[in-house]
C-alpha cells in the first residue's frame, strides 16, 4: 500500500465534509493526562461552530476533564474507498447555559440529533446533559488517496 499525494481540503470542501459527517472524536486534556471520547455533533458552516451534547455522571471521567480546561480538539475522519479524509479542529469548548438557549440553538441541536455514542442506558432523567459549542481557532482538512493495489513488499 502506498500513499498518494496528500492535499489540503479547501474551506468549502472542509465545510461540506463536516456537514455531511455527524460524529467525531473529542479530545481534552488535564495536565499530562489525555482524554478522548466519541461524540456526535451538529455543525453550523455559516458560523463555523460545532454543537455538542456531552453527558456525564457525577463520578465520570468526562466531568473531571470538562471542568479542567476549555481547550479541545475534535477529529472527524472518513475512509471511503481509496480516499481518506480528515479534519482536525482546535478550539475552545464553551458551555451554553440553559437560560441562554435560543431558537438557533434548538435548530442546531436538532441537526445533532443522533446521540450515537452517548448511549442512553440510564433513564435520561438521571443523566447530566450539558450543551457545548466548540468555537474553532484552527480547522485543518486533508485528503489522502491510498493505493491498495501496490502492496508488494519494498526493499
Amino acid at each position: 500500500m502506498s500513499l498518494g499525494p496528500q492535499t489540503e481540503l479547501s474551506r468549502e470542501e472542509t465545510d461540506a465534509f463536516l456537514g455531511e459527517r455527524e460524529t467525531g472524536v473529542l479530545s481534552l486534556a488535564l495536565d499530562n493526562e489525555p482524554y478522548a471520547v466519541p461524540v456526535s455533533y451538529g455543525y453550523d458552516a455559516g458560523a463555523r461552530k460545532f454543537y455538542l451534547r456531552l453527558v456525564s455522571t457525577p463520578e465520570s471521567e468526562k466531568r473531571r476533564f470538562l471542568a479542567s480546561t476549555p481547550q479541545a480538539r475534535l477529529v472527524v475522519y472518513e475512509e471511503e474507498g481509496d480516499v481518506y479524509r480528515s479534519v482536525v479542529v482546535v478550539g475552545r469548548l464553551e458551555e451554553i447555559a440553559r437560560d441562554e438557549l435560543t431558537v438557533e440553538h434548538v435548530e442546531q441541536y436538532g441537526e445533532a440529533k443522533r446521540p450515537l455514542f452517548e448511549i442512553w442506558g440510564q433513564a435520561k432523567r438521571d443523566l447530566d446533559i450539558k450543551l457545548y459549542q466548540l468555537v474553532p481557532e484552527q480547522v485543518t482538512g486533508r485528503r489522502i488517496a491510498v493505493d491498495r493495489g501496490d502492496d508488494a513488499p519494498k526493499s
Binding site: R53, R98, L101, T102, V103, H105, V106, E107, Y109, G110, A112, K113, R114, P115, W120, K124, R125, L127, I129, L131
Partner: protein, 54 residues
C-alpha cells in the same frame, strides 16, 4: 399591553424544564428537545402568562 405568550416547557424524556416563548416552542416542537433530542408533542408545553399587569 400583552406580553408575548410564555410557556413552560417540560421535557417528558429528560425532565428538563425551561421557560420559553412562542418561537422557542415552535422550534422545539419541530426539532425536538434541545437537551436530549427527544421528539416533543404540544403536551410538553404549558401556557403560563400572556397578560402581565404592571
Amino acid at each position: 399591553m400583552d406580553g408575548e405568550t410564555e410557556y413552560v416547557f417540560d421535557c417528558p424524556a429528560c425532565g428538563e424544564s425551561l421557560e420559553v416563548n412562542g418561537s422557542m416552542r415552535d422550534a422545539l416542537l419541530e426539532k425536538g428537545c434541545v437537551v436530549c433530542g427527544s421528539s416533543l408533542t404540544p403536551e410538553a408545553f404549558t401556557k403560563t402568562t400572556s397578560t402581565e399587569s404592571t
